[in-house]
Amino acid sequence: MKMELIQPFINAADAVLAQGLQCRTSVGNLSMDQEAYRRKGVAALIWVTGDIEGRIIIDLDPETAVRVASRFAGAELPESDDLIRETVCELANQVIGNAVTSLNDQGFHFRVHPPVLHTSEHGPKSSEDTEALVICFETPVGNVFLNIALRHNASCQPERAAAVGQ
């Protein structure tokens, strides 16, 4: 998996979390994962198709989701399943939307599908060419995990592939 594909997602997550939480975040553990995805808390999964294909998962525990929602709203919010689900999906939307904006400006074209709540304990297994990068963002309200498994579409334009160093 090329860093050119990953960096926009890291930047976007950092920017969205820092702005929404009004604080600095830091990247903690970073690991590669070739096993089936194992959910840590409440997770939203977004598929992308086009020049780049794969999926991105945003995962946080329910308590962290409530604290994130409260910070984003600027007021203490009561814990509820709906709020937790909404928070995780909207966070995924914003991070992926911002990353996609950056990638599109680099010439990649693809479609982002609406987020789906990932409820099973195990997710889609990554393959040899779509091994997942798991990034933990440490924030004052808890850890937010980003799990990225993306690859260039084999049919993408040769000039595009050259531009990213394939």
């Binding site: 984003f72 709203a73 909207e90 939307n93 939307g97 911002n98 996609v100 904006t101």
Partner: protein, 146 residues
Amino acid sequence: MEQFVAVKRSKDGQPVRYLVVDDSVFARKNLARMIETFGGQVAGEAGDGLTAITEYERLKPDIVLMDITMPQMEGIEAAEKIVQQHPEARIVMVSSVGYQENIVAALQRGARHFVQKPVKAEVLYEVIKYVMGEDGTAAQAAGAGA
């Protein structure tokens, strides 16, 4: 949350009325909270483009804040349909996907402006004042400090 100088309708001094369209309840509530700090009023909400069209007809809001990626009908198509029927409609697209093609497509099809998520209240406030133009007035409430 920061409080802003209220933006009122010039014609009658009443709060600006908003229709907030987003499939995320969380996003709608966040926008509604910002609207409150602008001295505005949420006239209605919709979770998809089709509902946005019917709600616009029913409520005739001063401003529509419209997400792009939504089920049933996406925001750009809904904006186009509203503007076809109501050329005076003031529609501001609010989306996390802010690449140039998207923005151009939205503006070409009738949207007045574009704000990228995550929304900064001060950015949205300036956009609201710009889009309201002479039909809006930002003025301190009587008795409020300068």
